[in-house]
């Protein structure tokens, strides 16, 4: 088993429901207070003005206005006194809710990647795994007593295995989504251009320079007559002139394309080129060539950076070094990681320069 214990509260749905209800109650409370304060202020102003206009003998008390307005709002919203919001309960349920939210996002991410090849889904599911582990740790660190939410491993190396599996999954998602993301977009664009070129080749003028001469049977009532008048008006307006001008251009473009097609029958292929995806054989070959080289190389270097300093200090270090605080802290990895990364950046800079 990879994990020794996953807290049961991770899967307790009632926690989420209670949280959402609490949030709704809080929302209602704040909406009510907002309406009360703003509306009440307006109501007081109106009443005051009314009293001034009506003159002496008319008086309205603040309490009466307040009562009237509260009764008015209560027709749509419950009175805040009836809405009990428990802050403590809210703080207690919020972390569980966030964890469950991470689980849902992770599952949705996996589904999104599996069905539509979404790389964002893969990244979200990757992230959700680590947030599930990270979040309780942060809560404990900042003093929120959520020990019972901490995930525990059956073996410390299982954590490393989880890291490797999740990373390999992420990299595989990047490689496999390549065809979908890049070639699919290119294919869509190619199809769009092909459609446009075909439409242009088949172009027929829609707006004629002269409106169609029709003799309507019922002069004022036929649709034809209305269309005829509309065309007359459009021809005279700027929009109409632009449309006629545009139609002329498209007509000539169509004639030009037909002429091009006569001279070179392959012109449609050049205008809407289809990018062919790499051969499946070549892609698989590339995958099997790259992955066995790349993943072990990365894992080896990572393992060396994370574990070697400690191993070296333990094996060959002097007592003051092996018993020092610095030998125990994980920051030791920085001593190897930073120079290696800098070295690789330097190599890439040289390679870039060379090009």
């Amino acid at each position: 088993m990879l994990l020794r214990r996953i807290p049961e509260t991770f899967f307790d749905i009632s926690v989420t429901v209670n949280l959402i209800v609490s949030l709704l109650k809080l929302g209602i409370f704040y909406i009510y207070e907002f309406l009360l304060l703003t509306g009440l202020g307006l109501a007081i102003l109106v009443m005051f003005a009314a009293v001034q206009i009506m003159g002496d003998g008319t008086s309205v008390s603040m309490e009466e206005v307040n009562e009237f307005y509260q009764n008015f709002i209560s027709l749509w919203l419950p009175h805040p006194a009836e809405v009990r919001f428990d802050l403590q309960q809210f703080y207690a349920n919020a972390p569980i809710f966030l964890i469950q939210f991470c689980i849902i996002i992770g599952i949705l991410g996996v589904v999104a990647f599996a069905y539509i090849g979404s790389v964002r889904g893969a990244i979200l599911s990757f992230l959700s795994i680590y947030l599930l582990i990270l979040f309780p740790m942060i809560c404990v660190r900042i003093g929120i007593p959520f020990e019972n939410l901490k995930i525990e491993y059956s073996d410390p190396l299982m954590g490393v295995l989880l890291a490797v599996i999740s990373y390999v999954g992420l990299e595989m998602s990047f490689r496999s989504s390549y065809v979908d993301e890049i070639f699919e977009k290119s294919m869509k664009r190619s199809r769009r251009i092909e459609r446009q070129v075909n439409e242009l080749l088949r172009f027929k003028e829609k707006i004629s320079e002269k409106p169609q001469m029709i003799i309507p049977r019922r002069p004022l009532l036929t649709i034809d007559a209305i269309h005829y008048l509309r065309e007359l008006i459009e021809r005279r307006t700027r929009k109409g002139k632009y449309e006629i001008g545009r139609q002329r251009v498209l007509k000539r473009a169509s004639a030009y394309l037909k002429d091009l097609q006569r001279k070179d029958p392959r012109i449609k292929i050049y205008l809407a080129p289809r990018i062919t995806p790499p051969e499946e054989r070549r892609m698989l070959l590339s995958l099997f060539k790259d992955l066995p080289l790349r993943i072990p190389l990365l894992l080896t270097i990572t393992y060396a950076i994370v574990y070697f300093p400690k191993i070296i200090i333990e094996k060959w270090g002097s007592t003051p070094l092996t018993e020092s605080v610095e030998a125990l802290i994980p920051e030791l990895t920085v001593f190897l990681l930073v120079p290696i990364v800098m070295l690789l950046l330097l190599v890439s800079k040289i390679a870039h320069r060379r090009e």
């Binding site: 205008l271 080129p273 990018i275 990572t302 994370v306 802290i329």
Partner: protein, 440 residues
């Protein structure tokens, strides 16, 4: 350069690494280190395999000189001569802003195995005359994981010259019969024998016309005294002066005085060359920019088109300078057709006119009136319209004053707007030809 996905992975890696350090949790340190290294290891491998020097790009245009409103097909071929495969290469061919892509796309995405080539094409619609550069070509290569991309601009530039629009010339070809030209430009043809010149039109009698030219039939028909006009069979020599000062380009880029003048000149040159007249061109502002001596060869039309394509507005107008320049190079009497908006200091204009007339040249001034080109009444509010009308009257008065001074030298000033620019120019040319001025 790092792509957004690469940046996201780097930030995620650093975040998890720091979390691991602060919580003393080995898992996060491990996964953070793994993510950071995945980026760091990929970078040099990517840059090592990218080699733009081995990518050859070629562009072919079906014509490098085209009329505005025409179309040009551009074919771009890209070839991978390296030993590496590029799974995703984005090619973007830069086009001038005034051009419109009417078919295809100037951006393409290609998959280039070693030794492979990829060709794509697009059709451009140039809207405005001028000399433009197509290119450079921008190449973007991305890696398979989407972490990095490399970009390079290939300095492949093709110059294309766009001549002024030939719509009017096309109409002219359709209307090439004298009868149709008459109908289009307000002249009417007739047939009469015995005079020895080509008959061209019947018009109303003006003081000074010969009595023998009165057409009695037309007079009886119309009730007004009508005379016959004849076109001279002899060719004339025409020198066109185009004012390319800054004031000529005020207004919308495709609809200002300069553009209309150029279109009118193109139509005029075409018509005159078909009639075997000698036509030359002088483009000037504060100095003479281009000068083409009058000739009647077919090549002359394209030489003039080349010059007109490159005309750009700038500087102030100095007509006197231009006329002096032209006079020193012209051997015979010439018809000067001057396209200017008369917004320069009147002394420069009058000095030039005086000089031309003194040397025996015939002069006609075609003057586009600014407000008619610069703004459309439909765009103005009622208040703006009232102000515009007041300004228009003031400008018109100033123009009239200058025109009166010019007319004292026997020079006609023809005020034109967008709709009547070309017809007015053609009409003046035909009139001058009929009168037999500046014959070769």
């Amino acid at each position: 350069m790092m792509a957004p996905r690469g940046r996201a992975i780097t930030v995620l890696g650093i975040f998890l690494f720091i979390m691991g350090l602060s919580l003393s949790e080995l898992l996060f340190v491990f996964i953070g280190t793994l993510l950071i290294l995945s980026i760091a290891v990929t970078m040099p491998l990517f840059y090592y395999t990218v080699s733009f020097a081995d990518i050859i790009v070629m562009r072919i245009l079906d014509k490098d000189k085209v009329f505005a409103g025409d179309f040009v097909n551009i074919k771009v071929t890209i070839e991978n001569r390296s030993r590496y495969a590029y799974d995703l290469v984005e090619i973007r061919d830069n086009i001038p802003e005034v051009f419109e892509v009417i078919a295809g796309d100037n951006v393409a995405v290609a998959n280039l195995p070693p030794g492979a080539s990829f060709t794509y094409s697009y059709v451009l619609y140039p809207k405005m005359r001028g000399t433009y550069a197509i290119g450079p070509i921008r190449l973007v290569i991305k890696d398979r994981l989407g972490f990095f991309w490399a970009e390079r601009e290939i300095p492949s530039i093709t110059t294309i010259t766009v001549y002024p629009s030939y719509e009017e010339i096309k109409r002219l070809d359709i209307l090439s019969r004298a009868r149709f030209i008459g109908m289009e430009y307000g002249v009417h043809s007739t047939k009469q024998k015995g005079i020895g010149m080509e008959f061209l039109m019947i018009r109303e009698y003006e003081v000074g016309d010969e009595f023998r030219k009165i057409d009695w039939k037309a007079t009886a028909r119309t009730g007004k005294l009508m005379v016959k006009e004849f076109e001279s069979e002899r060719n004339v020599e025409i020198m066109i002066f185009l004012d390319s000062s800054k004031s000529m380009a005020v207004g919308p880029p495709e609809e200002n005085k300069l553009e209309y003048s150029i279109r009118a000149i193109v139509t005029l040159v075409k018509m005159a060359l078909e009639r075997k007249d000698n036509v030359g061109l002088c483009v000037f502002s504060d100095r003479v920019h281009e000068f083409i001596k009058p000739k009647s060869s077919e090549k002359q039309f394209y030489d003039i088109l080349d010059v007109l394509a490159k005309v750009s507005a700038g500087g102030r107008s100095n007509l006197a300078n231009a006329i002096e320049y032209a006079i020193s190079r012209l051997k015979r009497r010439t018809l000067f057709l001057i396209f200017t908006d008369l917004e320069a200091p009147s002394s420069f204009i009058l000095e030039g006119i005086k000089l031309a007339v003194a040397r025996g040249h015939s002069v006609v001034v075609i003057s586009p009136f600014g407000p008619w080109f610069e703004v459309s009444a439909e765009e103005l509010s009622p208040v703006e319209r009232a102000l515009a009308e007041a300004l228009l009257i003031e400008m018109w008065e100033k123009r009239r004053a200058v025109a009166r001074e010019i007319e004292k030298y026997g020079v006609a000033v023809v005020n034109v707007g967008p709709d009547d620019c070309i017809p007015a120019v053609i009409s003046e040319y035909l009139k001058m030809k009929m009168r037999g001025l500046a014959q070769v």
